[in-house]
């Protein structure tokens, strides 16, 4: 039992350690970043960066890479504001649904044609940004009846409505990825594509679900941010992709597919939230936050890499030797 737990928890040891260390360091540096307030701030991070990272992680697990998430979030935010007359739930639902549909289409194209998603989504990244400008009329737009957003501004102890929604999505995503056939097929397709196909896993369906999830999560993130702020601007979220990717990598999601869980994403998001929120509350410049994030990323990945190198090699190292460097999304 203990052995099983140890083996289960191994992939989380490093991100957990990183989280604890950064949290301690930051709370020493920033006296206001302690206790309930700090937990609240960290959970807030889940509703924007967290959701985007979650979606991105699904594509990474499937052995793909969806670069279009930042633009998708911006477009969804604009759609949310444009449809705000349908009410709070209505506009969030519409925007999220648009994202799911777009992502599914993108997944079908990538799955059917078998092209590299890294290459394809750089096109949609630019294209969606263009659509965002067009839909918003090239300027910031606001929710006229901003009273509808009031429920989102409430705070319940360490939670806000949007962080509750985000956590709900995280838990649902975790259940889906861990306990359903479709979720496990995403792992199979990402972990060993040929083997999975030989076993009868349908590639197109699996990729469609993965990309629908990544676009859907990004859209929900954009929609929540737009309703909470009461507005959307077409130039928003251009660094969300890299932040989301950094969160995934910090948490231990592999760029080579098939590895990592929702818990890994949660750790990564929490680490990033601690750094960003903690340092911002200190009045640290945005650029220093970036510097710290970059250094942290390099450190964590470096430790993981070295640990992997130093660990004794098991039999089957032979199969590893010639392993190609096929990275998520880069293959055909």
């Amino acid at each position: 039992m203990i052995k099983a737990f140890l083996s289960w928890s191994r992939p989380y040891a490093l991100p957990l350690a990183a989280l604890v260390v950064t949290w301690i360091v930051i709370s020493i540096l920033t006296p206001t970043f302690r206790g309930e307030a700090s937990v609240y701030s960290v959970l807030e991070g889940f509703s924007l960066v967290g959701l985007v990272a979650l979606g991105l992680a699904v594509t990474l697990i499937a052995g793909e890479f969806d670069l279009s998430v930042g633009s998708m979030a911006a477009l969804a935010a604009v759609i949310t504001v444009l449809t705000s007359s349908t009410g709070l739930i209505g506009c969030i639902a519409i925007a999220t649904a648009c994202g799911v549909v777009f992502g599914a289409l993108q997944g079908i194209v990538i799955g059917r044609l078998g092209i590299s998603s890294l290459v394809f989504t750089i096109g949609t990244l630019i294209m969606l940004r263009g659509l965002t400008y067009i839909f918003s009329g090239h300027e910031p737009i606001i929710i006229e009846n901003f009273e509808i957003t009031d429920p989102l501004l409430e705070r319940y102890a360490i939670f806000s409505v949007s962080s509750i929604i985000a956590l709900f999505v995280f838990i649902t995503g975790w259940l889906f990825l861990t306990y359903t056939r479709w979720g496990r097929e995403i792992y199979a397709i990402g972990g060993a594509r040929n083997e999975a196909i030989a076993a009868g896993v349908p590639r197109v369906r699996t990729l469609t679900i993965s990309f629908a999830m990544s676009s859907g999560c990004a859209s929900l993130a954009g929609a929540l941010a737009a309703t909470r702020g009461g507005s959307a601007a077409p130039q928003n979220y251009d660094d969300l992709l890299l932040t989301g990717a950094a969160a995934c990598l910090l948490g231990g999601i592999s760029l080579y597919g098939g590895r990592g869980t929702v818990l890994n994403v949660a750790f990564g998001v929490a680490i990033l939230s601690v750094v960003v929120a903690g340092l911002a509350a200190r009045g640290t410049s945005a650029s220093l936050v970036q510097l710290v994030t970059g250094a942290l990323l390099l450190t964590v990945i470096g430790i993981e890499f070295l640990a992997g190198r130093l660990a004794p090699r098991k039999a089957g190292g032979r199969a590893q030797r010639g392993r190609s460097r096929r990275m998520a999304g880069a293959g055909g």
Binding site: S41, G229, S231, A233, Q235, A281, A286, S287
Partner: protein
């Protein structure tokens, strides 16, 4: 509310929301605010966003969560029209002094006072500068493409309110002899973007314009390069006025840019802290507008309450002499614009 009766802070908290210090304007503004807060004895915490409204939204949530009760909040909403919810939330916490972007009718109920640039006034000064450019061009014997001269406009990225407000002021003072605006292009706010757009638009309108109105001096520097690429000599074949001076001022000094507006960010930051301090002291505002005049040294702070709109000083700078003569609250032109 009751005022404390004095502008000194005695270590009270002030919180400021503004843009990142990676940007020259943000950096100067923060510098000015920090210096003034130190002088008055306030503890100033600055939340910087990387030109992102959602990021600012999150920071507002964070401040509220942190449980800090600042004496006042200085708030630059990155997208003014889009930050109503932030203003609402902040207003519950402390008096809000809005900065740089004037509140609109929806956000006024949550804001105590505005402190910062007067974009319409800036637009007016720029309009007047442009009229002077026309006189200078005439005097230099330039032949215009139409009676009042044809104007090409390079604006901030689409949707930035600064540009549209300034344009209002600009149009108002030039309405008696308006320039013929042949084209407005959006997206210029840095040398690179100015050059990228200029280098494509200028060949298209080559020989069809006499004047250029550019968002800021950085962008103008890019456009000047595009003009030269196309064999057009700025300051001779065409005259340029730039909206504000952030950027290297070489081109103003050597006459390639006819004139620019001096918008001292450091003064804006300092003024915002003063406005907040005055509000804390009095607990109320009095009157509609205080327009600060251009003064070489910083005037002493008074105990009087702030007005609803507290405008920082603003002056045009024309030519090398104009740049050299500029001195506002102790800062010279280069300090205000570039460093």
């Amino acid at each position: 509310a009751e005022g404390t009766g004095k502008v000194e802070g005695d270590g009270k908290d002030l919180v400021m929301f503004t843009i990142t210090a990676s940007n020259v304007y943000g950096a100067n503004q923060i510098k000015g605010a920090e210096a003034e807060a130190k002088k008055l004895g306030y503890k100033l915490t600055v939340y910087q966003n990387n030109f992102s409204q959602p990021e600012q939204d999150q920071q507002v949530q964070q401040l509220i969560a942190s449980g800090i009760k600042p004496a006042a909040i200085i708030f630059w909403p990155w997208v003014a029209d889009a930050a109503i919810n932030d203003a609402r939330l902040l207003a519950k916490l402390a008096p809000v002094i809005q900065l740089t972007q004037e509140p609109n009718e929806k956000s006024w109920p949550f804001v105590q006072a505005y402190s910062g640039a007067n974009q319409i006034l800036i637009g007016e000064t720029l309009g007047r500068t442009m009229l002077k450019a026309r006189e200078a061009a005439k005097a230099a014997g330039m032949k215009f493409k139409s009676d009042n001269g044809k104007l090409l406009v390079f604006q901030h990225p689409a949707g930035e309110k600064t540009g549209t407000e300034r344009m209002k002021g600009f149009m108002a003072v030039t309405k008696d002899a308006p320039f013929d605006i042949i084209h407005t292009e959006f997206g210029a706010n840095s040398p690179e973007s100015g050059y990228e757009i200029g280098s494509q638009v200028i060949p298209k309108f080559k020989g069809q314009f006499d004047f250029l109105f550019v968002s800021n001096q950085q962008a103008a520097n890019g456009i000047i390069r595009a003009l030269k690429d196309n064999g057009i000599a700025p300051g001779k074949d065409v005259y340029i006025v730039s909206g504000d001076c952030s950027g290297s001022l070489e081109a103003v000094k050597n006459g390639e840019t006819f004139g620019t507006g001096i918008q001292p960010a450091a003064v804006e930051g300092a003024l915002a802290v003063r406005t907040a301090a005055k509000f804390i002291a009095n607990g109320k505002i009095e009157g509609d507008v205080i327009q600060m005049e251009v003064e070489a040294g910083a005037p002493a702070i008074t105990n009087a309450p702030p007005a609803k709109l507290n405008y920082m000083p603003h002056a045009p700078a024309i030519g090398a002499d104009g740049v050299a003569a500029t001195k506002i609250w102790g800062y010279n032109a280069d300090e205000i614009c570039a460093s």
